[in-house]
Symmetry: C2
Subunit: 361 residues, 2 copies
């Protein structure tokens, strides 16, 4: 069994908040950043929660994260804005930008905000779900450290570039599609590395571009493979989606793109001759009742969901799942049972407690 | 070798135009519909070109396509509209709706039009590319006849539900990502059926939900598999994307969705108790210079494209391709060499010539 320590959500949140304060973030921003990370841990996306906290701290130590950013709207129209995030935590600029998109959408039916000069924004679902609370559809994307090889390439050119949609429902929880455009997210690979287990076929290629199951392939010059995994199964589609997310997040916003995207890990150098500022994100909010009355929409969403739940299963033990449900059920469960941390993550957090002289739960 | 007949694009366009006129479409609509189909054939998307012409005719004969539609904007805001397409050809309502989205975007920075009561709209790339001509990014989606099983299901619940992005560039042709959210589009399967060849693994499941390579599996109660092909390779992502496209196209617009989407083939009955009108589409236009000056964007797009073209290849004979380039090169080639038609498609068109008493090239 994996060695795990279980902490209550509130304890972990209190500690995380204290770390952001210690980095120099103000109270509001510390609260927002904590909320994004704890939402990831609560929803079972452990790779994007407090497991990354020490990574953010190291980026701050390397002067790549600014704890007291001044956001600047560089360009604006009725439905759109471009935001320079002043090297903020993406955990802070993300919710800010999504709220601006929501405000635009409440005026014109939809809003879109492109963000440059930002950093890793945590889980997309957090941001997209801000829109569903206002009876809007939320969309977000971000580019990320280059780890994925385009079709035909052995060079890493794209991040795992996630694309997220959150759609409100009536009696059911919101529909959430939140996915990396690679066959597997890097977080899943890190888990296999810790257990020293081979990766499934279709996730990785080696330094010569040949398929491999070595979970350490990335450390030896290999790359992640786009969603689809091989030519027969349509991995050009994963490449197309990842490239689209990169262009929206980087080229449209004025951030870096492709191989110029700054790495998340602070020990890797930044690319020479950057083509933009920091990493980039895109947020959209779409007001449902600009298209049809909200009651009609919500009742049809409920009908969509209940019909899909009833789809004839291959095995009656495994019914069809609605996108977002596994994370929603995990959130309910962990609110009661607490949040399990792997031993290395727990030790990592204890190290932060020592560094900042904080109490540790 | 496949038995092919090559026709000049102009000849084929003239004939196609005459067929739409014979169905009762006016000159403008016939021209638009012809242009959409011939663009598919020119770009090498043979499954979505004139090969479908007799299918549209049969839907018209079944009174499911209205050749003289009155489009009605049912709901409108500064950036958005919902359009009832009055059972039009999607080949006609698609360009109309995209132009409305473009008009909205020119006012507010972005526009989105949801369409209900429509029919099959041909290739998404045609519609999305209308936006790039105005220095905008174009997005479109449509739902379609249920052929794809969600993860865990043996029942067909979703169409191949394509998602298309077209992004303008400077000296290079536009970037176009135009993909079905299933592992393989149905058109590719039809080709294998004609040749009686097995399908690659990962495309299909049989009536019990088990993997199969039988190209006729759909005819025996099987289903297409979402992009990703299996659990290890992330086919829940293809399911999530297909479901998202269905909800945008159907639930938001007021069209049918999921298993209620009307089949493309006229001999299959419509679902009992429809939940909306016809099939649905979504179109978005995003004005680039609402986000950054257009010259900056275009030069960074050119830089993105040239850097990706130069990515280190696995095999120097197969360089990295830019999404949209294969279709662009095919278009240039077929403008000179003509459009190859498979014998059954050619015979099909000859049948239409007899039916409508038209000259056939």
């Amino acid at each position: 069994m994996t060695d795990e320590i279980i902490l209550k959500k509130q304890e972990l949140a209190k500690f995380t908040y204290a770390v952001f304060l210690a980095m120099g973030c103000n109270k509001n921003d510390s609260e927002t950043a904590t909320s994004v990370l704890l939402t990831a841990d609560s929803r079972g996306i452990d790779s994007h929660g407090v497991a990354r906290l020490s990574g953010y701290v190291r980026l701050w130590e390397a002067n790549r994260i600014n704890p007291t950013p001044q956001f600047k709207v560089e360009r604006e129209s009725l439905s759109t804005a471009t935001l320079n995030a002043d090297s903020a935590l993406g955990l802070v600029s993300g919710p800010f930008a999504m709220k601006l998109a929501i405000q635009k959408a409440s005026q014109t039916g939809m809003g879109m905000v492109a963000v440059n000069n930002s950093n890793h924004f945590g889980i997309g679902a957090y941001h997209a779900l801000l829109a569903t609370k206002e009876n809007m559809i939320g969309i977000c994307m971000t580019n990320a450290s280059p780890l994925v090889a385009p079709v035909n390439a052995k060079e890493r050119m794209l991040g795992t570039n996630p694309l997220t949609f959150a759609i409100p429902a009536g009696k059911y929880p919101a529909f959430v599609s939140d996915l990396a455009t690679s066959a597997a997210a890097n977080g899943k690979l890190e888990l296999l590395q810790r257990k020293n287990k081979p990766a499934p076929e279709g996730w990785l290629q080696d330094q010569d571009g040949q398929p491999t199951t070595d979970p350490f392939a990335l450390k030896h010059g290999g790359a992640l493979i786009p969603l689809g995994s091989d030519s027969d199964k349509g991995y050009h589609k994963g490449y197309c989606l990842g490239a689209t997310v990169d262009i929206f997040s980087g080229v449209l916003s004025g951030a870096n793109y492709g191989p110029w995207v700054p790495p998340f890990v602070s020990f890797l150098p930044l690319a020479a001759n950057p083509v933009g500022l920091g990493i980039g994100h895109t947020f959209m909010a779409i007001k449902v009742d600009a298209f049809r009355p909200i009651e009609d929409f919500l009742s049809h969403m409920d009908n969509w969901i209940s019909r899909f739940k009833e789809a004839q299963p291959i095995d009656a033990q495994y019914p069809v799942l609605i996108p977002g449900d596994p994370e929603y059920f995990c959130e309910a469960e962990r609110a009661k049972s607490g949040i399990p941390l792997l031993r290395p993550v727990y030790e990592d957090l204890k190290g932060l407690a020592v560094k900042f002289n904080l109490e540790f739960p």
